[in-house]
């Protein structure tokens, strides 16, 4: 580090001790960022969900990303990594953001070894483009996530769709990862072979870490062959207990369901259950016929029904809640949501992977009857649902919510409720990011 910027750093630190809001010599930071490589742009507030970063840098390689991270470390800049920005509004926004690292220039499928069913991909690549490349060899990353999500974003948010029942979440499909640490050091774990137990699996730690431990620049996935055929078997139920039996029967069947989904447009309405079967054309046909029998009154379709859950989104003004549970408690979960909806007077839409023990619940802050916003009521909803499900294995976690709902949850279990292993998580954060500069405050809240 040059003497000049060292001086700057010292004066900034000294100034911060005295007062908040002392401006930094942005020209010096800009010069250092430019010297590090990549493109550096003046930021606009849209770059990080309302935050106003001073800079946006777009690294073109892991080396450039590392150089930028070193500059950020020298100047003690807080850093928020960005893929397509589609989930920056989830959780709690970073409490400070000096530098956005926009990964969109790192968009290559670096290696696709189809004979090994393995692909190494840069973090900024869009899921849609990656899947298109892999499909040329009849392969895929077995995650149903939005095509416009970036690889890094999918991994960092742990996003998974209906097929999580069969294939798991990103952490189950990752076999290697390259990261840049908060101090700018580049580190790899895993590799490009599916079977590998050498060393700690840092990929697991970074998957779902929401950018709070370091920067993901590349990820290596195990791939699956694209299924030759698909069928959806669906049924509608009015009694909760019958629907729950159908979900359990489908998920536990040796017919091998790729997904067992549930949808309920009103907390006390009819329940749609749908099963996805994947395999050979003949095999899927035979299995679908049997699955229809298992569901009692199943309808076989070649395409997904209209209600089939898309990857969860969080529209403005709505609170997205994830209820995770053991499948044997599904009826209790549905009953609890219905009772909570009735008690709070807020309508709830339920969708998700019932067979895998994960449901998403959307609660709107807008009270249609009285034409008013009831953010406090949504916080009450979350608290009441937690209390109704207390003692069950699992959690009621708020994935995204309007700021007023988040505030309403303060002191009432927050966004996540109790988090087991919290002390160890703090220790991990302190080791990887001792200055707490990586997406500070982002996850899990109030740690």
């Amino acid at each position: 580090m040059q003497a000049a910027s060292r001086l700057l750093l010292l004066s900034r630190t000294a100034a911060r001790r005295g007062e908040v809001g002392v401006s930094v010599d942005l020209d010096v930071v800009r010069k250092d960022l430019l010297a590090a490589g990549g493109e550096v742009r003046e930021a606009s507030p849209a770059n990080a969900d309302g935050q106003a970063p001073s800079f946006v840098a777009l690294p073109g390689s892991t080396d450039e990303a590392a150089a930028l991270m070193r500059v950020a470390a020298e100047h003690e800049l807080t850093v928020v990594a960005r893929g397509t920005g589609s989930r920056l509004s989830w959780g709690v926004p970073a409490s400070r953001c000096d530098l956005v690292l926009d990964m969109s220039r790192m968009s290559d499928v670096v290696e696709h070894s189809h004979g090994d069913l393995v692909a190494r991909v840069q973090a900024g690549a869009l899921m849609r483009d990656v899947q298109a490349t892999l499909a040329q060899a009849g392969q895929e990353i077995a995650l149903d996530v939005p095509g416009d999500a970036s690889i890094g974003g999918v991994v960092a948010s742990g996003l998974a769709g209906p097929r999580r029942l069969r294939y798991g979440t990103p952490r189950d499909l990752l076999i290697g990862m390259t990261i840049v640490r908060a101090d700018g050091m580049v580190a790899k774990s895993g590799g490009k072979v599916v079977k590998n137990v050498a060393g700690y699996d840092l990929g697991k730690l970074f998957a779902g870490s929401w950018g709070t431990l370091g920067l993901i620049t590349e990820a290596t996935f195990r791939l699956h062959p694209l299924p030759a055929a698909r069928a959806y078997v669906t049924a509608e139920y009015f009694a909760v207990s019958v629907a729950c039996d159908a979900v359990a029967a489908a998920a536990n069947s040796p017919l091998v369901s790729s997904a067992v989904e549930l949808s309920r447009a009103r907390a006390d309405g009819p329940i749609q259950v749908g099963v996805l079967l994947e395999g050979s054309a003949d095999g899927v046909e035979a299995r679908a016929a049997r699955m229809a029998g298992l569901l009692g009154q199943g309808v076989i379709r070649s395409a997904a029904p209209a209600w089939w859950p898309a990857p969860p989104q969080a529209p403005a003004g709505e609170t997205l809640i994830r209820v995770s549970f053991w499948v044997s408690a599904l009826a209790r979960v549905l009953d609890a949501i219905e009772a909570t909806s009735a008690a709070t007077g807020l309508s709830a839409v339920i969708q998700g992977s019932a067979g895998a023990g994960v449901l998403h619940v959307w609660v709107s802050s807008y009270d249609e009857l009285n034409g008013e916003s009831r953010h406090g009521g949504v916080a009450d909803f979350v608290a009441a649902l937690r209390s109704a499900l207390a003692g069950q294995r699992g959690a009621v976690a708020v994935l995204a919510a309007p700021a007023l709902v988040r505030e309403g949850l303060a002191g009432r279990g927050g966004m996540n409720g109790p988090v087991p292993g919290l002390a160890l998580m703090r220790a991990v954060k302190d080791q990887f990011d001792p200055g707490h500069r990586m997406s500070p405050g982002r996850f899990p809240e109030r740690l």
Partner: protein
């Protein structure tokens, strides 16, 4: 130093009861090694706790005295991961062997760490479920040990590894605190410490309860045996099966030397004179497996199989598997001593690496029998030598190491399922950079800053967990102002 651990015996007896604390040198010697007998260390003290609370109390005593401790399950590990510390306490978990809960609707089981792998499947079987990870030692190996090693097995090609089937762990931290990682749902909030812990070889804490995922038992299982005149021909069949979009439950291959050994040991009746035997197991819904079976047979024939057999009933399948499963032990009939190696290469590099091994063997006169999980490129070369011949053990060690070098060169791994333990820590710097290893050890520092929990394993050079000049600058000013941020 041993005296320091011995001085803890009284406290340990109060925790576990007198009968569960061993100090007698002869009894201690029983625990001097695990399945890798070339590394032996007699522990200062052995304790056999029966509850999670006892384990936590034992660890707290060790932590406050600064005495290292090592956890051990059934002791079947093949990398010396459970080799005791000479000045430390060995915590044996084999008395914690209850299956606490089976929830068939949720497809979950809760077990204690000393429960054997196979007994989980046995407990789940009446519900039409099984526990998928199946290391060859599944009759004796413990689930706690499987978690520590992230164990695989022949069927992990399709069904995944231990880490894909463990959804919750109650652990005792190296400070002696009981905590849960994961809640059995697979969707827990926060960092995936469960994933990071699994496969950490006992260096991040001790497992006291395990929530595992159970899988519906397959409706149909078919095993195909194909015999070839060369490993290359068998390898072609493997490539074509994968290219056809089929993911078999298992694809195993054995070469002439390992076939000969298995034949002598268990009379498995493999086709006579075969240079390579390929086993392909298909499982799943009957309608899918029948179709796959026809395709696999065609592919195996097209690759030049001299004989193909298929078995769909459990007894026939067990007969064919017996040859493969006996292979490690069976080579003992061919050679007074041997090294079981465990390396991985990308499947597409199998042919090249097998060629390298053959060349190494020819150059050194050290015979190598090859048994491997062909589907995922996991090699288990058995390096045969005569320890009565001066220098042969050393030459075998060189060949064994050169095989790992080849695995690394082709982008593979130094271990696919046996772990690093004490055996392979010296190879870690060949596979990972200093920065990679330093970063992994940040996790170690978070869990075990005093480095008391199974020290000396995995990493060749321990990282100091204190302040590192130039690396740590204290909390961010915003955090120092009282707002705790993450």
């Amino acid at each position: 130093m041993t005296a320091k651990a011995l001085a803890l015996a009284t406290a340990m007896r109060e925790i576990c009861g007198a009968a569960d604390v061993l100090t007698d040198p002869l009894e201690l010697r029983t625990y001097e090694c695990d399945g890798l007998t070339s590394h032996r260390t007699v522990p200062a003290l052995v304790v056999l706790p029966e509850t999670a609370e006892e384990v936590a109390a034992v660890v707290r005593v060790c932590a406050s005295a600064g005495v290292p401790f090592v956890a051990r399950g059934s002791g079947t590990g093949l990398s010396g991961g459970a080799v005791p510390h000479a000045e430390g306490v060995l915590i044996v978990l084999s008395r914690m062997r209850r299956v606490l809960e089976i929830d068939p609707v949720s497809r979950r089981a809760v077990v204690e760490p000393g429960v054997t792998n196979l007994s989980v499947t046995q407990a789940a079987a009446p519900h039409g479920l099984f526990y998928a990870p199946d290391p060859s030692s599944q009759v004796v190996c413990s689930v706690g040990g499987n978690v520590a090693e992230n164990s695989g097995g022949a069927h992990c090609l399709k069904h995944g590894f231990t880490v894909n089937h463990v959804l919750g762990l109650e652990i005792v931290t190296p400070a002696g605190e009981l905590t849960w990682l994961g809640d059995g749902t697979g969707a827990a909030t926060g960092y995936d410490l469960l994933g990071a812990f699994t496969g950490s070889e006992g260096t991040l804490g001790i497992v006291t309860k395990i929530i595992v995922k159970l899988t519906p038992a397959p409706e149909a299982v078919h095993l195909v045996l194909a015999a070839y005149d060369s490993l290359e021909a068998g390898g072609r069949a493997v490539t074509d099966i994968i290219a056809a979009g089929i993911v078999p439950a298992a694809i195993e291959m054995m070469d002439a030397l390992s076939i000969e050994a298995a034949e002598a040991a268990v009379h498995c009746g493999y086709p006579e004179g075969a240079t390579a035997v390929l086993l392909v197991e298909l499982d799943g819904p009957a309608a899918e497996v029948e179709a796959e079976l026809a395709t696999v047979r065609q592919i195996c024939e097209a690759a030049g199989a001299r004989e193909i057999r298929a078995a769909d009933d459990p007894v026939q399948r067990a007969g064919i598997w017996a040859g493969r499963k006996s292979a490690f032990a069976a080579v003992g009939r061919l050679s007074p001593a041997y090294i079981v190696q465990d390396g991985v290469v990308p499947r597409t590099a199998l042919g090249d690496v097998l060629g390298r091994i053959a060349k190494l063997s020819a150059e050194t006169g050290i015979r190598v029998a090859n048994v491997f999980h062909a589907g995922d490129g996991n090699l288990h070369p058995l390096v045969l030598y005569n320890d009565a011949v001066a220098g042969e053990a050393e030459r075998a060690e060189v060949v064994s190491g050169a095989i790992l070098d080849a695995c690394i060169e082709y982008g593979g791994s130094i271990t696919g399922e046996h772990g690093v333990g004490v055996d392979k820590s010296r190879y870690m710097p060949k596979m990972f950079t200093a920065a990679d290893l330093d970063t992994m050890q940040l996790v170690r520092c978070a869990f075990d800053p005093a480095s008391l929990c199974n020290p000396g394993k995995i990493f060749p050079t321990p990282r100091l967990c204190g302040e590192v000049p130039g690396h740590r600058r204290g909390p961010h000013p915003a955090a120092a102002n009282g707002a705790e941020i993450f």
